[in-house]
Symmetry: C3
Subunit: 347 residues, 3 copies
């Protein structure tokens, strides 16, 4: 796999300063790159590595250009250039375009052109799969699902009945989309199962991480907007609505019926209650518990405490459990002190 | 799929006020229902939607009956009526009753009548499967497992050796039941593996969510009581005992050897320590860390802090790390103030 | 399955006090053991059970030897003896040594001797599998993976392209090793996918829990050291480095680029930020948020609060949100009190 520097410059709007005939053979950190490879800098601490880098090309913003002696691809966002370049070195687009004989595909399914369908894939009735999709081994696509063009489903994915997916999506191994939401009605001290009759809808350019689970709605749809990026082991409850281009880091759980705005950034291992609303472009720091709606657009939210040595933590945690008493003592002291001062003034 | 209103009334003990010949064709929210469909209200904020609803039937308690002009199914628990009705509109009971030719079933397995076994299912030696069970694609049932009647296992489920499951259970995709617990003995600064020789036992009417994991016991059984409902991505450690009709929301982790009582409600994303006991009907709020036994029946427990803007949070979190010092300062001030007052009284 | 007491004593360096001809037929708790079985004590609360135990052998340290009347295997670490004994009663080493006809193995793969490969296993191009490995049903091993000798992969495991695994490893069902890390570059308010071009390397004696996910590095490798033990539903981000013999309990998430030292103990449900460093032998208590490097070797760390009844919690949590104000009030009072005392002294 290779990529001409000229093509990368053209694609990203970058400017070449140096040898524009270079063919890139890979990408690496400045201190690990070998001849033929491209490096880039996003962390300023790594700037000193540029001086001795063996990379053939460095992608740099103008202000760092004097740190590297070889050919430079000038761009104000090297990280974006790296992303674009990485796509030429990925093995996935080159998947073998064939349908494995062990795949079991219902005769009523509609298959696009140029598909790659791996061993043991199971495709149900009335499924529609767009052109250029790649389906990994042992993946199951239930009845009535629809996939747009250029989708990649890794091995061991499950799409349950009626799941809809736009173009250019990617779903990683072990993700389960459209299985039942968690719904039970209390009755005589037991739990009566509520069948989940809705489905899951995903827009274009959606990424879903490994072992992530997205439940079908009880009624209606669970909505995953265009450009949404979801990391591994995330849980999305039934009827959740996620706005376009929102990103969610690993292990976060979002309970049923909650609405996230567009362009939100949700940290890892958060817990977000059901039936609340997060405004557009809200950021939630990692491991935060969100128990109420967050209404201020663009604001950053957090909960919990800092970390400390356990001996220190224990003393402070005990005081946390006495906080209300401390507060009352404090107010009482304040009152008495004012009284004392007043008395003194009268004297 | 359809359901006569008369049958639903009969099944739930509800009373029809209006046209008792209606055949229901679906369920929807009041503002989305079309003719033929049933709606219901659980959230009082949605009462105004009833006035203009196109639903043919609304399920309502007596006190709300005057808000809807069409036919009413009177019931004190509309949510329960909804649950019952939903079961008539689910596609699952109608699964094709056949055994797919690609399923690999050991000749020593005992299969009940009226089974549905999908593609690529693997069933091991001495397995017993009750009548009317539905097994989804690519599911693996290891040697010596037993399933009661009317169980549904979705696609991509794994039951490890010796797992026992009562009647009418449902296990969702990606759930792994009975794999090894996490046991290692320290020895010479390394970890010696403890083979897990026990198994998992589940009662009747148990639901297990997507990608949930339940470990086999080291010795003896991990016990999941009758009517227990477990949501997605929950982790149950080896030797845990969960009492009947307890519900556990998504992403909660319960460490080994812990005992939960009956009728408990455990919120999402909780962490529950090993070898502790929770009394019957205890409620634990979401994202709570349970590091000690909770002994008061019916009590509600919580840990952590509220959520705030990150600038506010940061200031308060720093104070948390100084809490013990604050408390000592407060006590010191209190003492000195009392001293001052006493001195003044003496004057 | 059985094990002679003499062999167990020889293997563990224990001393037999009593009948050294006993053949052990199983392991159980003191109060549940039957004749022929071995019991042991790790929890002092269970010592009284020894008196009436029907076990044929008890594994005890010298100081407890007088509590049991039958044959004793004296050892200062009974838990280690139990671990060793458990390995003789496990069914896994006895897996049928055959390759199931439904397994799809690429002709370019190199297979060792004495393998067990179950139904529907998919093995890709240029894969190398060492002698004595056991591969469970429906497991997928992508191109260019390498497994050392004596590895066990349970059913429904996925190893993505280029994953390397040392000797004597065990990966449990649903674990996904080497799928893409979560990398996107912001561009025009959307997210540009960064293809993950690295891989995952695991040393010898590594255990990976059920439904755990380990991402391939963006560039280079994600490193899992020798003897590392990882529980269920753990998430390891791209480029993480875990030192030898570190253990990680269930449901913990470690973000990309973080470095854990050797011999660390990480509790369950922790969240560990990206690009930080934990020193050797650091312990992190369960459900702790680690947002900074932990640099003190052997230290124990914790965050969060204790648990209380919700009514108590609510009052204290409100005070937490006022902590900074409380602190300022306290300092103000302190100042004024000192002032008062000074004034008084002057009088």
């Amino acid at each position: 796999m290779s990529l001409s520097l000229l093509e990368l410059a053209h694609l990203t709007g970058g400017e070449i300063r140096g040898d524009d005939t270079i063919i890139l053979t890979g990408i690496a950190a400045p201190n690990k790159a070998i001849m033929g490879e491209m490096c880039f800098i996003t962390d300023p601490k790594r700037i000193p590595e540029l001086a001795d880098s063996k990379a053939s090309v460095a992608v740099l913003p103008e202000k760092l250009a004097n740190h590297f002696k070889g050919t430079i691809l000038l761009h104000e966002n090297p990280y974006y250039v790296y992303a674009k370049a990485s796509q030429f070195f990925s093995p996935y687009p080159n998947a073998l375009r064939k349908i494995h004989p062990s795949a079991m595909i219902d005769s009523s399914a509609t298959l696009g052109n140029n598909l790659s369908i791996a061993a043991n894939v199971v495709i149900g009735a009335e499924v529609v799969i767009g052109d250029h999709c790649v389906i990994g081994a042992n993946t199951v696509i239930d009845d009535h699902c629809q996939l747009g063009e250029h989708c990649i489903l890794r091995s061991h994915v499950v799409l349950h009945t009626g799941t809809q997916m736009g173009m250019n999506g990617r779903i990683h191994s072990g993700a389960i989309i459209g299985d039942d939401g968690f719904g039970f009605a209390p009755h005589n001290k037991k739990w009566e199962r509520i069948e989940q009759l809705g489905s899951v809808w995903m827009g274009d350019n959606v990424d879903i991480g490994t072992n992530t689970t997205i439940d079908r709605a009880a009624l209606g749809v669970t909505h995953i907007g265009h450009g949404v990026k979801i990391d591994n082991q995330v849980q999305i409850g039934h009827g959740v609505h996620i706005g376009d281009n929102t990103v969610i880091a690993a292990c976060t759980a979002i309970a049923g019926g909650t609405l996230l705005g567009e362009g939100c950034k949700i940290g890892g291992a958060c817990g977000i209650s059901g039936h609340i609303t997060l405004a557009n472009r809200v950021t939630v720091m990692g491991m935060t518990r969100v128990i109420r709606s967050l209404k201020t657009e663009g604001e950053v939210y957090m909960s919990g405490t800092g970390i400390s040595k356990v001996s220190v933590w224990r003393r402070n945690a005990i005081r946390f459990s006495q906080l209300n008493d401390m507060s009352r003592t404090l107010k009482d002291l304040q009152k008495r002190l004012i009284q004392l001062v007043n008395d003194k003034d009268k004297d």
